[in-house]
């Protein structure tokens, strides 16, 4: 069954039953004792992923992509980059998986420091809103995976989707919006536009650039 025009197959994907069983050495052979800290969910062609790797040489970044062809492209791209520039790009990798379903199979509680959601599928129809990658259900899962102080970056050029994501994040008790002042100092923010393929396209077309960044905070319920 083909899910949609992008050719996403509803195939069941390989995933570890438990994070303990995940073999990361194939993805990051040079970093046997490090854990992934940044996750780019729906990494597309991997532009941001590669930029993150260069910006944070000591941090492992993982791109997650469900489309077969696209994820294969990113894997090949990383392989080629590693050959071209030996010693570099060892801290980035791409995995084909369904992030909506299997993130807790890959990562432990509080393992992630940053999660990126760049130009997610807008799912315009109202009946499809629950399938958006930012939803009240999935935010609880992201709050579980992120450490306290961890960040969620969302970027879109669709105003409706931006409003939806902001609403979901505002309403979730474990997320708090990051101020513009702080974003101005964040070295990642400019990369969101100039490194990702989608971001470059929006810049070319002079489209709207809608960014919302939220911090994972402690559960207010525990202190009340």
């Amino acid at each position: 069954m083909i899910d949609n025009k992008y050719g996403i197959y509803r195939a069941e994907l390989d995933y570890p039953v438990h994070p303990d069983l995940m073999d990361w050495s194939k993805l990051y052979p040079e970093f046997p004792n490090k854990r992934v800290e940044f996750a780019d969910v729906g990494c597309g062609y991997g532009g941001l992923l590669v930029a993150l790797g260069e910006l944070f040489p000591d941090v492992l970044s993982l791109g997650l992509e469900i489309r077969v062809k696209v994820s294969q492209f990113v894997m090949e791209r990383i392989k080629a980059l590693r050959l071209q520039e030996p010693g570099k790009h060892q801290n980035v990798a791409c995995l084909r998986t369904n992030a909506m379903k299997y993130l807790p199979n890959f990562f432990y509680r509080g393992q992630l420091k940053k999660m990126f959601f760049l130009f997610p599928d807008p799912h315009f129809k109202e009946s499809k809103h629950e399938w958006r990658i930012i939803s009240r259900s999935l935010l609880s899962e992201y709050a579980y995976l992120l450490c306290e102080g961890g960040l969620v970056y969302t970027v879109t050029d669709v105003p409706d989707l931006n409003q939806w994501m902001v609403k979901c994040l505002d309403e979730h008790p474990m997320f708090e919006r990051v101020s513009q002042e702080e974003l101005d100092k964040d070295p990642v923010v400019p990369k969101l536009w100039d490194s990702s393929e989608e971001g470059q396209k929006v810049t070319r077309n002079d489209g709207p650039k809608l960014l919302a960044v939220y911090r994972r905070v402690a559960d207010p319920f525990d202190s009340s």
């Binding site: 083909i2 195939a11 039953v17 379903k101 807790p104 259900s137 609880s140």
Partner: protein
């Protein structure tokens, strides 16, 4: 799936779109069902494309639950306007105190320990809470999975809510702040069908799954303590691993509990004894059920008896008890009381005990799919 539960006075069998109450003293049958106007809507319902009307009606079963105090009975209907009905026992009669729409078909319905709320886990993956004390209050969304839910339960201290889904996951979240996920219990390799707390150590969770295993977990840490491959104890005829439909647990001493297990299409119901509070040990006590009829549900009641529901025209409901050596005996007298109601229960067996939609469809090679599609 049709289910059975009960206490000292009554047994409640849910199936079709209603719940059947059996009086244990005299075997009298009472049927509680949605008010008539809803039934009319049911008959008018247009079946979806590709479904005949009977298929539509048989796709889901109503779910029922009895509060631990025995004063409330809840039913989530599955046809027409799907709704939650709550009855309260006043003297000898059950009166309907609440009727609220639920939206999606329910997979499991449970009262919290204090019976202040009813929780519904639904096929769309969400858990909703309905107040019992305020019978007209709207439902409250608690949490959501990205897969069909099969069970939900709240710890006795009402601090944690645990839900399990078609995608092998057991999620432990805080309660009532359900947006805060505490842990996942990961280890099953197929859908997770039921959840219970080990009665003699409520920090341990018991789960059953389509992978044929019962697992025991330290759920706050998401740590697997023990896995029981039930087919090792009760092999199927052709060596196939049968899914576990559900299990029920009952405390027999400060450091031991009994567990009855309902397996796939099997006519056998194994009874295990789980010993120890931390260092757990499991042994098979016996296997009950001898005829060829499939066991549909097994449930311990609070009063030292075990209920068995079988797809058997002669004896749809069996009541079992045990002696000090854990020898299980059929309560012949009581079981015979229910024989005359077997016709009423036929509807309970009208849809498969394990819906095929729980199984993953395996699409191996995307290339194959493209070919088939074109």
């Amino acid at each position: 799936m049709a289910s059975i539960t009960g206490n000292k006075e009554i047994l409640a069998v849910s199936g079709g779109n209603s719940v059947y109450l059996l009086e244990r003293k005299n075997g009298l049958l009472q049927t509680l069902e949605p008010p008539v106007e809803d039934k009319e809507i049911t008959t008018k319902k247009v079946p979806k494309k590709g479904e005949t009307s009977s298929e539509h009606a048989d796709k889901h079963m109503a779910c029922a639950a009895l509060s631990s105090c025995g004063r409330y009975l809840a039913l989530a209907t599955c046809r027409g306007t799907k709704c939650l009905l709550i009855w309260q026992l006043e003297g000898q009669t059950w009166s309907l105190i609440s009727q609220r729409p639920i939206g999606r078909a329910a997979s499991k319905i449970r009262f919290t320990n204090s019976a202040s709320r009813v929780l519904i886990a639904d096929k769309a993956g969400d858990v909703y809470s309905f107040s019992v004390t305020e019978p007209t209050k709207e439902k409250e969304w608690l949490l959501g999975h990205i897969a069909m839910l099969l069970d939900v339960t709240v710890s006795d201290d009402e601090k944690y809510i645990i839900s399990c889904d078609r995608d092998d996951k057991i999620r432990v979240a805080c309660f009532p702040n359900c947006y805060n996920i505490n842990s996942y219990c990961l280890g099953h390799t197929s859908f997770v069908t039921s959840l219970s707390f080990l009665p003699h150590n409520p920090y341990i969770l018991v789960s059953s799954s389509g992978d044929g295993c019962i697992k025991l977990w330290k759920y706050l840490e998401g740590k697997e303590l023990l896995s029981i491959p039930v087919n090792k104890y009760v092999p199927a005829l052709d060596g196939e691993i049968l899914p576990i439909k559900q299990c029920s647990v009952f405390q027999v001493s400060p450091d031991a509990s009994l567990m009855s297990v309902c397996i796939g299409s099997s006519s056998k119901c194994p009874i295990f004894k789980i010993d120890g509070t931390d260092n757990l040990q499991v042994k098979l006590l016996c296997t009950i059920g001898s005829e060829d009829q499939e066991v549909w549900w097994t449930q311990f009641t609070r009063e030292n008896s075990m209920l068995l529901m079988k797809n058997n025209k002669m004896q749809p409901v069996e009541v079992w008890s045990w002696d000090e050596n854990y020898d299980f005996l059929l309560n012949q007298n009581e079981t015979e009381l229910y024989v005359k109601h077997s016709d009423a229960f036929q509807e309970c067996f009208s849809c498969p005990s394990i819906p095929s939609m729980l199984y993953r469809k395996n699409y191996d090679e995307p290339a194959d799919k493209v070919k088939k599609h074109s």
